[in-house]
Every structure is written in C-alpha cells, then in structure tokens.
C-alpha cells in the first residue's frame, strides 16, 4: 500500500482538491436519477394510504377499481406471496395493511395501470371500511399502562441504559445540581429527489429493481422475503441518488416491495414515483426527543454526575429506532468525563409518522441538550463556556460514559481552541453581555463540541467490499457495495484506487452499486463509507498491485520493490512503461486484472445489562462556533458567521470535505431555526416545502472550515469520518449564541421568531394561511 506519510505530502491525489467524478454527469443532465428510468410497456403504480392514523380495517372492496379499463392489478395484503411485513430489527412494517393501520402513511392497497392518471382514478374507487381507534400521539403517554396499544406487544419500542459509578454518590459529591428539560422536534430529510423506483420481472422468475435506494441489501432482503424469492433472484440497482441523508432505507423498502409485487403479478415493468406530498406523508423522519438532564458539579466546575432520561417518539414502526437510541445512550453525556452516570432512553410507538435514520442518527438531539446544558452550568459557575468545557472534556486516555478507554489521540481541546481563537470567542462573549440597550439588534456568540463513534460500532456486523477491474488500455472500473448518495463516496473511493495504482482519477469509471455485483457491504450510514470502503479499496488495490507488479518488474528488468506507480506510468529509475502497457501484458500472460477488496472493522463490545463496553472502535471530535444577530423586538435570528472544526483523521479530498461541512451547517441551521414537521393527532399538518421551510442560500452565514488531522491508525491514510459530525453540533452553537445575545435560554427547537420572542411556537394550522384567515371574523 502507498505509505502513510505524516507530512501528507507524498500523496499524488489524496488530500488535494479533486472535482467530483460525477460532476459532469450531474451538471449536463446525463446522470439518471430514480425517476429517469423507464421501460417500454411499463405500468404505473399507485398507493392507497390510510386516512386514519389508527383504525381497524373492516373490509376492503376493490371491485370497482378492478372493473376500470386499463387497470392491470389491484392488490391487497391477501395477494402477498411471502412475508406480509419487513424490518431490519423488528420485521413488523406492513407492506399492505391487513388488521389495522397505524399511521396515515400506511398502505392498504396498490394499483398498476396503463397511465398514472388511471392508477390514481382506480385508487379513488377502492372502498375501505375502517373503524377508527383512539390515536396515540404523545410518546410519554404511550408508555403509560393505560394507553391504547399501537402494537400488540406494547408501546415500548426500545430501552437502553448506561450505568457508570453510583449516581447518588455523584450528586453527594456535587456542590450544586441543576435540572432541565430540552426538547427537539421532528424533522424531514428533505432530499431533493422523492422516492422513485422501476421494478421489472426478470427472466429467471425474479425481479430487478432500479431506484433511489440508499441501503441496497436491506431493501433486497425485504423484497425477497415479501415475494418469497431467494436473494439471488432479487437484483437491486442503485440509480444516481438525489440525496438521502439516511432517509432512503425503510421508506424505499416499502415502495420497492409494492412495485415488485405489482411487477411480478402483471408480468410487466412497474414504475412508482412518489410526489413530494406522498413522500412527506409516508417517509420516516428524525426522532423528536424529550430529554431530562439532572447534572451535578463541584465548585471548581468539574462534572460529578449526570442523570438522564430521554423519551423518543418512534412513531408507528420500529425501523432503526433501536440503533438510533443506542447511539444516543452511548453519547448522551457529551464529550465529557463524568464519573457517575445513569442514562435511560426509551423509544415509544405512537400513531405518528415513524422515525428512523437521519444524518446524525440520534446525536443532534442529545448534542443540543448537553451543549445547552454546559452553557447553563457555566453561567451558574461564573465561568465562560469555553473554560467550562475545557475542565471536563475527554482527553487522551480518558474513560467514556460507557467505560471505554480512549487509546487514540483525542483532539477535542484542540478543536475547541481552534474555533474559539479563530472566532475571538471570549472577548466577544463577554462584550455581548453588556450591549447598548438602545438598539434592538443584539449580537451573540456560541460554541459547541462533540465526540462521535465512527461507523456502526456495537450495532452489528461491520464490513464492506470494493471491486476493481483494470482494463487492458489502462483505464479501470471501480464499484462498491456502499453508495454515493451525493456525499461524494464515488469520488473518495476512486481517489483511493487512483492513489494506490498510480492511476489518474479521470481514468476511473465508478459504477453505481448493484446487489448482484458486490457482496452485502451493509448500509451506507454512520459516516462509515470513507473509512470502510476506503480501507476496502486499499485492500483491493494492493491485491491487484501485488499481482501485476512482478510483471512490471520483469518488463523493466528491475526488482518489484524499485517500482513507482504514478500518473499512469510505472517507472524504475529512468526507464518506464505505461500502466496500459503493463495491463495489456498481464492480460497476454493470463493474469487477472480484477480484484476484490474486503475490509472488516475492528472489534467492539457491548453489555446491554448495564450499558458498558468499547462501543465504537474509534471516535471523531469537533467543535463549532456561531455568531448571530438577534432582533429582540421581533425574535428574528440571523446567523452571521460560522466556524466549524473537525478532526477527520486525514482529509481525503478537500473539496468533498468542505462540501460536507457546508451542507452539515446548513442542515443544522434548519434544525436550529426553521424546520418542524407538524402533526396533530397523528395527522400531518403540512405537505410540501411551501410550509415546511428549509434554509435557503440567503440564510447561510459565511462559514469557515478548519480541519484537524489526528491521523487514525486504522483509517485509510489515517482518515476517519465527517458527514454526521458536520451536522450534529451546528444547532447548539446557534442556540448558545442566541442565549448569549438575549440573556434568555430557549430549551426547545426550532428557535422560530415566535419562540424567541414569546417562548411560543407556531400552532399547526389545518389549512393554508390565507385560507385559514376566513375564520378570522367569526
């Protein structure tokens, strides 16, 4: 393998500013997204959703729909040949509901028709008789014994705990104790491309699915079990993805199962494309959390105890709730040394839209709570927030809340120092507290920091593969079991192969993922792709290089160890050959030019009884700083400046890395200030982006990015992770800045104008604003 170099200057492509390998396809429109895939003779699928969040289905009558001309199939649960439900952790998510519906995104029937209009028409003709049940909408009430049940075996979806030391001793050792409740809202991924899929009956009796899929292998498992097919007859191909952010897993399993069912029933290709409104209604969201923190500190500002109780709304189905809440429980104390910890997190089933994976995966919620809390503690102690943190941060060799000793370099303090010194934190923070009272515009500055476990950790199996096929003209095809969903994985993986084989990256074509080509590499989640696929790409490249190097040595008449692979040439001293010449010669000699790299992550451990263990094989550290201007007469918050520092181990592509941070900050800002998916009694109160407001480019502050390269011994070239860390601490930095400006702490997100001014948020309206105004006179 190419030698790691502490100065980082020995690399040909790694660490430089490389353009995305898919940039030209995307800007010229050559890239084909889910909905761009069509076949002649295809049918169009449509779904009948439940109007009720909770109801017993008494009867379904599809006769009138079937009688319509141009309708090729009308299917209900009775037509499913295999399992009626799916789910990676709890396989209870209904493909088509039978006994009852549990949220308004549940499907009761599906239709395949010659045109989309006919399909919609047929949906309207399906008659379903429901008997509504009491709606469970509050996760806390859902856990009370008197609550109606969403699932027969109870409303408790998950409970994880962490126990460290003795909490009572911790509070005894504390000079004072504060207790606060923080809440975060439900938010939508808001990928620009709604779910889209094309399912084709295969020649082998199976089905081929092409679509906007994030986790191909879990979707394949779902489709295979629902259709009663062996895995090898279900082929899932990833179309170019228009964003996902964790969102195209179970939501895609559902639509893929339905489309595949229609395709096999009719024997024709079936296309299903969600409208934005359907996507909002059906697709899972980020878990809203209610978090109670009781924290004890001694007079010198040292944390002594944290008692944490969190309730998460899982909505109607489990999806990844068990794992999301597990990450929360591991990281709930924030990146601090706390000798006595007692954490309990519960996820409850309700009749709200279900919740699951979303960039951050259980961390943005707890980061908001802990990082707000650290500022509140600092205020009590008369310390500044930076100093308060420094006294408690994890350092080299520290023990985490789960009892894990950190054996790598811990760069948290460095990250905090970087953002505070670049932002002039302390002076501004002090000055902001004594602002001229005449102007309603108050300045604020705030910081936040986090540690985050890389990859899946003790969640489960963690391995991934990369395939490399060198061609006889010196070009190469690379593919991977993990997907590029816009985060730049195609570019990163290509760069690793380019570095290792001395190829220029424009000689590489990166193929979208395909379940029949690559082995199950797990999901593209948990900021694991650069780490896992990067390592697999190095392994694969090394295998290939070890095979072809002796041929090169033979051609150049030198020792294999003297060879240098660079810029499409292999040289030894002053003589050289092209990689194309070498590849052609290997082919002539019958040497395989294709290799497969596999990487399995190091071991992690976990004891569920008391929540202890080496939860993740390594961690990343980061700190954010936000500056805001708050209009205290209107509650308007403008983020004027942002600084984001992350230890990524090693920057693989500076363009991609910066892009992750800018996007992460934008998403975190939406979480902090704007976004909330509103539901009332299980009914969504908004359906599209005219009401669900995301930040636009005009809201984006000037953002400065600082990378730390802590050099992880395990990562490819020392690289770790960035996608989720870049997002998780933006909101608390903003909230802390707002508190610095106003002198008032808001413990609920988002910080809308109304909430900042009145401490009150929008009441979700039943109709659009202008239509609602009709009621004003009465």
């Amino acid at each position: 393998m190419a030698k790691e170099n502490p100065q980082g200057n020995k690399f040909n492509v790694i660490g430089k500013a490389s353009p995305r390998v898919d940039a030209i396809d995307k800007v010229t429109g050559r890239a084909r997204y889910g909905a761009d895939h069509s076949r002649t003779g295809q049918l169009y699928g449509a779904v009948l959703n439940s109007p009720y969040p909770h109801a017993i289905i008494k009867s379904i009558n599809t006769e009138r729909a079937r009688a319509l001309d141009g309708i090729r199939a009308v299917l209900t649960h009775a037509d499913i040949p295999g399992a009626k439900s799916f789910g990676g952790i709890v396989p209870h998510q209904m493909v088509l509901c039978s006994g009852k519906v549990r949220y308004v995104g549940d499907a009761v029937a599906i239709v395949a028709a010659e045109t989309p209009e006919l399909a919609d028409k047929a949906i309207e003709l399906i008659e379903v008789e429901y008997s509504p049940c009491p709606v469970v909408s509050d996760p806390e009430q859902a856990l009370s014994p008197s609550s109606p049940l969403v699932h027969e075996d109870g409303n408790l979806c998950a409970h994880h705990k962490v126990r460290k030391g003795d909490i009572e001793t911790g509070f005894k050792n504390s000079d004072f104790v504060i207790e606060h409740e923080y809440t975060t809202q439900k938010v939508e991924h808001a990928y620009i491309e709604p779910e889209a899929v094309l399912a084709e009956p295969g020649e082998n009796g199976g089905v081929t699915i092409t679509g906007s899929v994030q986790n191909l292998y879990s979707i394949r498992r779902a489709v295979a079990s629902v259709l009663n097919l062996p895995l090898n007859r279900v082929r899932v191909i990833q179309a170019t993805l228009g964003g996902s952010f964790g969102g195209k897993d179970e939501a895609m399993s559902a639509i893929c199962c339905r489309a595949a069912l229609l395709a096999l029933t009719t024997g024709r290709p079936v296309k299903m494309v969600n409208t934005r409104e359907q996507s909002m209604r059906e697709s899972y969201k980020r878990h809203p959390y209610k978090m109670r923190y009781k924290v004890g500190v001694s007079n010198d500002g040292i944390l002594q105890a944290m008692e944490i109780k969190i309730i998460a709304d899982a909505g109607a189905y489990a999806a990844t709730s068990q794992f999301v809440t597990w990450r929360s429980v591991v990281q709930a104390t924030g990146p601090y040394v706390v000798p006595h910890v007692k954490t309990d997190i519960y996820a409850a089933y309700t009749n709200n839209c279900y919740t699951g994976a979303m960039r951050g995966f259980g961390s943005p919620q707890i980061c908001f709570a802990v990082e707000s809390l650290m500022d509140e503690l600092a205020a009590q102690l008369g310390l500044d927030p930076f100093e308060m943190r420094l006294r408690n941060t994890l350092k080299d060799g520290s023990i985490t809340a789960t009892g894990q000793k950190l054996t790598h370099r811990v760069t948290l303090d460095e990250a905090l120092r970087n953002v505070t010194s670049a932002g002039g934190f302390k002076a501004k923070w002090l000055a902001n507290r004594e602002q001229d009272s005449a102007s309603p515009i108050k300045k604020g500055i705030g910081i936040s920091c986090s540690y985050r476990g890389v990859s899946l950790g003790a969640e489960g199996a963690d391995a991934a593969g990369v395939g490399i096929s060198l061609q006889t003209d010196g070009s190469a095809v690379v593919t991977c079991g993990l997907v590029d969903m816009g985060q730049g994985a195609a570019t990163t993986i290509s760069l690793v192969v380019a570095e290792e084989l001395g190829l220029s990256s424009d000689k590489i074509v990166f193929l979208n993922a395909d379940t029949t080509v690559m082995p199950d590499s797990g999901p593209t989640v948990a900021s694991r792709t650069s780490f896992m696929a990067g390592n697999a790409a190095r392994v694969g490249s090394t295998i290939l290089k070890d095979r072809i190097a002796p041929v090169a040595a033979d051609m150049l008449k030198c020792k294999a160890s003297a060879l240098v692979f660079c810029h499409d040439f292999i040289s030894a001293g002053s003589s050289r050959i092209t990689l194309a010449q070498l590849a052609a010669e290997c082919f002539r000699r019958g040497i395989s030019l294709s290799a497969h790299g596999w990487y399995k992550s190091p071991k992690t451990t976990w004891r569920e009884e008391d929540g202890t263990g080496d939860a993740y094989f390594t961690f990343v550290y980061g700190a954010n700083l936000a500056e805001v201007e708050v209009d205290i007469h209107t509650g308007r918050v403008i983020v004027t400046k942002f600084i984001s520092c992350h230890d990524v181990g090693k920057v693989l592509n500076i363009n991609g890395a910066k892009g992750q941070v800018y996007g992460g900050v934008a998403m975190g800002m939406g979480y902090a200030l704007l976004e909330a998916y509103a539901e009332e009694d299980g009914q969504p109160k908004l359906g599209n982006f005219d009401e669900y407001l995301l930040p636009t480019i005009c809201d984006m502050p000037q953002t400065e990015v600082i990378f730390l390269e802590g050099d992880d011994p395990l990562g490819p070239y020392g690289a770790k992770a960035l996608g989720e860390p870049a997002n998780e601490i933006a909101a608390p930095a903003i909230a802390n800045a707002v508190a610095n400006a106003t002198g008032r702490r808001v413990r609920e997100l988002p910080l809308t104008l109304e909430r900042v001014l009145l401490g009150k948020n929008l009441i979700p309206g039943r109709e659009r604003g202008s239509a609602m105004a009709k009621g004003a006179e009465s």
């Binding site: 209107t634 109160k685 407001l693 930040p695 604003g769 239509a771």
Partner: protein, 282 residues
Amino acid sequence: MKEQDTINPSSLRQALAAKARPNLVVVAGGTDILVQLHDRVDRPWPKLLVLDGIKALGKITLHDDFVTIGPNVTFSEIESSPIIGKYAPQLAQAASVAGSVQIRNRATIGGNVANASPAGDLIPPLYVLGATLELLSVRTKRSMPIEKFFVGPGKTVLKSNELITAIRISKVKRIGFFLRLGTRQALAISKVSVAAALMIKSGIILDVKIALGAVAPTVIRAGVAEELLRGNRLDAKLIDHAAEAASKEARPIDDIRSVAAYRKEMVGILLKRGLTKILESM
C-alpha cells in the same frame, strides 16, 4: 407538468373575448395559480388563458397626474423602475423583498392583486398609495379604489368575464415605507406587513395612510392609528400611541405561518420602526 390546454392571446381584445367564456383560468406569471392547480384534487385541469403575450399590459406609463402600471408588470420591473422609485417607493420596497429573484422575475402585480391573499406584499403599498383598479370585460369598463376590490382571502368583486387591465396611482409625492417579517430571508410569505404613506409639512402630518397585511381576512387600513397621527406633530410619543393603536386594530389568527399574539405585537413594532426612521430623517 403535463401539456396543457391553453389560449395565448396577443391582444387585450382577444383576451377579453376569450374571458367571456366560462371556466377559464387566467395565468399571468403563474406563481400563484400553478401552485393552486397542483394542489387541486379535481382533475383534469381547466383551460388556461395565458396573458403574458399581451405586451400592452406589461408597461409602466407616466401621465400628467398619475402613473399607470400594467397588470403584467413583474416585481423585478417594479423594483428597478425609476418611476415607481420616485412615486411609489413603498411599492418598490415591497417588490424587492418578496419571494426570490426567480419568483420576482415571474410574479406580476396583477396576479398579486387578483390572488387576493391578505399576505400579498404589493397590496398594502397599493392601499396607502390610494391605487385605483381598472376592470374590463368585452362590454363593460369600471374602476374602483383597491380597497373595494377585496371581499376575503382569495375573494374579490372581479366578475368572471373581467380582467384587471390597469392599476393607477396618483403622482402626489409622499414619503413612506413597507416593512414585513417572514420566517426566512427569501421565499417566505409575510407573517405580518405594514405599509404607510405620509404627507408631512414642517413636522406636522397633513395626511397619512397605513395598511396592514396578513393580520385580517384582507389587507386592512389602520384607521385609528391614522386618526391619531393626522394633524399632529410626529414625535416619539405620538409614534408609540399610533403603534399601540395599530396593534389593536389587527385581527390576526393562528396559522402555519405565525401565531396571533405575535402578529398583533409585530404590527406595532413594524409601524414604530417605519415612523421612527422618518422622524430621524426629518
């Protein structure tokens, strides 16, 4: 979007003739109507009468006593027109903060008025400028003050065969402002808006009009606040009184964009800000 059955007249006469037929939907910039059609459940779509080929409706013209703004004039054109900047600065301000560049390049003043949203940003400025609308059908022609045009949210007195063919404002010079609050910096419908036009001579307010947006079923005038101000000297205390009065005149509701208590308070804040700025510049 699917291919649509449309009529594309190039003259006003053709447009009015077409408008005499029932069940036709007028499209100017399309930024409101296409969204509304998208949300409709009853398909297929109605036939569309597209106005943007009628060049005569897209002009700003200066007359002896008044300015005529064609209904097809876009927000971008209003924003950058020196005539509007001179005689209707409130209108220019409102046009410049609405939507986004893309929306402002499409959205028209006629569409903003005809859509009759209480949050329509050009409407409060037109109220305080005393604008008159010209409404034409094949056979009839009438004009009316803009305040008589609205009945409720999305409801106007426009007859099914009529079009708005001109918007007139007088050339009397007044000072004024338009201020609004939205959830984000761009692409946000107003939560609250306030427009005002004043005639001030040696510190005394000779005449004043104030209009409030998004706080009632239609844009409304703040009559009590106007009465307090009229004939008096503009000073900080008077501004406070007027702001308080206007706040009381607002009749807002809770909806997806804001809450009533917030809107009520903001009417006062925005009016106070606008008037204070005028006071400071005197």
